[in-house]
């Protein structure tokens, strides 16, 4: 398994730093490469080359609970100006760098994006839960097939199983 985890957010914008917090927890608990970014850029797509799995973590004001979903491959943006999301980056990676692996997005519920450091208790617990779920995801992917990306069947089962199994390591 060759996985890359990308945590997105600004720790100076309060709960927007939730993914960074989860990334720090993950770095201490797994062997997968974990990178922290304030935002996604086209250059991020180049980092996908040779990866089997890419997982994005992001604070999300629209999320009611920690969720894990596959990033859709299809992307047809009307224009590219100042924003770029996981779908666009994955599309660029597939088109430019031959990325053929799976991409996931883990959303962490967040409400307060005011310009202050620190996390609300809800975002902090969400970050910890996200880290636990991603550890399970990495564990299951590795157990299913150490060298090849999992098929749709496993993806579906992982989505259903997420949160129902015990963690491989404690976060």
């Amino acid at each position: 398994m060759n996985a890359l985890l990308i945590a997105i957010g600004n720790s100076l914008r309060h709960d927007d730093g939730a993914a960074r917090h989860a990334a720090i927890l993950l770095r201490a608990s797994c062997d997968a490469e974990v990178r922290i970014k304030t935002q996604l850029t086209p250059e991020t797509a180049a980092e996908f080359a040779g990866r089997d799995h890419v997982v994005f973590l992001d604070a999300d004001a629209a999320a009611a609970k920690v969720s894990l979903e596959a990033v859709r491959d299809v992307c047809s943006p009307a224009s590219l100006t100042h924003t770029l999301g996981p779908r666009e980056v994955v599309a660029l990676a597939r088109a430019l760098y031959g990325f053929a692996g799976r991409a996931w997005l883990c959303r962490i519920p967040a409400r307060d994006f005011s310009p202050t450091p620190g996390l609300s208790p809800r975002a902090r617990s969400g970050a910890a839960e996200a880290a636990r779920r991603l550890l399970r995801l990495l564990d299951q992917i590795a157990a299913h097939s150490p060298s090849a990306p999992p098929g749709d069947e496993l993806i579906d089962s992982l989505k259903e199983d997420a949160g129902t199994q015990g963690p491989r390591k404690t976060v």
């Binding site: 224009s79 590219l80 088109a95």
Partner: protein, 479 residues
């Protein structure tokens, strides 16, 4: 009936702006304006802060050109201390500046402008973006992304991070350049040179298909201002100011950038937050001037590196005196990218870069400090006043983009006059609106340098009648 066309927001630039075109009763263009709708307040925020904090603070002014701001600010701090910084610190600052110009120009050319250049000004709006290029020319786009990545990586090695590095300050820099970094940078050089050369060749071949844009999208006489070395070559970190006119005559040279406020003034006009700098001896608007890649190539006698010198000689053949077509900012940007890669390679062979004497230490010795450098978009000036304790009492930031304000307005008006075809009941074509924006994109304005903005830029195009009444408008909302 006369009308007003509003393009808002202007897309694929950094910052928020709109364009207004006024038509007379017959549908002909009366005038056009470029409005910067952001407000700038950084100077006020600086007051009361210790001057030592300014470089770190100023690095945050812009996410595209933080290195320019930290260098201008550090140099103002050097002047407040009254020190000459060690050679190793100078070399580090130069290296970071070349890397920043490279990555910023790559962003402008490949990410923002190449959809217009490769897909055409009249391509459908949904096709004029980076993603469409993955189908049109994947390798071209891949090389552009890699070039920007290279520039950012060099900045990271020198300054500790790609965006908002805080390693430079009054008196020098904070840490030594890692010797191991040289091999990595040298490893990128052949690919970077190859990519820029390919883009240059491609751009030259494309020029023939943009003859109307070359001739009518910002083709006008003006002054050009830039920093040059003592022998008149391209210089981005430390030198004297030279000004040439459209015929290539030297209007002024050996001007001390630390005294910029004595020869540059700023005018204000209605409808925009951005001021209009001008060369004081000529007054406003006669003294308006252009800065940035086109100005630097017009002002410099030579590049000082082999490949860029060849390109510069060829570039100068495109004008009679100075090259006045704004569309040639794109080509000038590529020549500068080539020069930057060559300079980065030179610095890798410079032993002084690795020196461990990187700080000149002194207490406050002056009450006013001025720093300048060539930023990607043109000459940047920072001027600070401090009290006896070193607390900021005043700051003035003269941003490169603002110095092109008058030129951008002229470019928009000329473009509107040439390309807008409006009848009594017809809407302007999308390609026309795009050309208005493309005229602005030639200058690669970074309006965020003046203010901070979040999200995608909105743009408005307004059509006013002869009485100034809004007749028609087109708006694109921010996301």
């Amino acid at each position: 009936m006369s009308r007003r066309i509003v393009v808002a927001p202007v897309t694929r630039i950094e910052g928020h702006a709109k364009i207004t075109v006024h038509l007379d009763a017959g549908g002909s263009v009366e005038s056009a304006q470029f409005h910067v709708t952001e407000f700038r307040g950084f100077e006020k925020l600086c007051e009361g802060r210790p001057f030592q904090e300014m470089p770190g603070l100023m690095s945050r002014v812009c996410g595209i050109c933080p290195v320019s701001h930290i260098l201008a600010s550090s140099k103002a701090g050097d002047m407040l201390l009254g020190v000459e910084i060690p050679p190793a610190a100078v070399k580090q600052r130069r290296l970071a500046n070349y890397a920043q110009i490279l990555q910023s120009h790559a962003l402008s050319f490949f990410h923002l402008s190449s959809p217009d250049l490769l897909l055409g000004m009249d391509a459908a709006p949904e096709q004029r973006n980076l993603f469409a290029l993955t189908g049109a020319d994947r390798e071209f786009l891949r090389r552009g992304i890699r070039l920007r990545q290279f520039g950012q990586r060099v900045i990271e090695m020198v300054g500790g991070r790609r965006i908002h590095p805080g390693w430079s300050g009054p008196g020098g820099v904070q840490h030594c350049f890692p010797a191991a970094g040289r091999d990595e940078i040298l490893g990128w050089i052949p690919e970077a040179l190859d990519s820029v050369s390919l883009a240059l060749d491609r751009m030259k071949r494309l020029l023939d298909s943009f003859r109307p844009e070359l001739d009518h999208m910002g083709n006008f006489p003006s002054l050009f201002l830039a920093t040059v070395s003592p022998d008149g070559a391209l210089e981005y970190y430390d030198g004297a100011i030279r000004i040439v006119d459209a015929a290539g005559n030297v209007i002024a040279e050996d001007l001390d950038p630390r005294r910029y406020f004595t020869f540059l003034g700023e005018a204000s006009e209605q409808g925009t937050f951005m001021k209009f700098p001008f060369y004081r001896p000529f007054g406003y608007p006669q003294g308006h001037y252009r800065v940035g890649p086109l100005a630097r190539l017009n002002v410099a006698k030579s590049a000082g590196t082999a490949a860029a010198d060849r390109e510069l000689r060829e570039f100068k053949q495109r004008g009679q005196g100075a090259v006045c077509q704004s569309f040639h900012y794109h080509l000038a940007r590529l020549v500068e990218m080539l020069h930057c890669v060559e300079r980065i390679e030179e610095l890798m062979a410079d032993g002084e870069l690795l020196g461990d004497n990187i700080q000149a230490r002194a207490a406050l010795n002056r009450r006013e400090g001025v720093g300048s450098c060539e930023a990607p978009r043109g000459t940047l000036f920072h001027r600070y006043q401090v009290d006896r304790d070193g607390l900021m009492t005043g700051a003035d930031l003269l941003i490169a983009t603002s110095q092109n304000n008058r030129a951008m307005n002229l470019a928009v008006e000329q473009t509107a006059r040439r390309f807008i075809k409006a009848g009594p009941d017809t809407e302007p074509a999308e390609g026309m609106l795009n050309r208005l924006e493309a005229a602005i994109r030639c200058y690669d304005p970074c309006l965020s340098c003046s203010t901070h903005a979040l999200g995608q830029m909105p743009i408005r195009v307004e059509v006013l009648d002869s009485r100034g009444r809004l007749v028609s408008e087109f708006a694109r909302q921010s996301e």
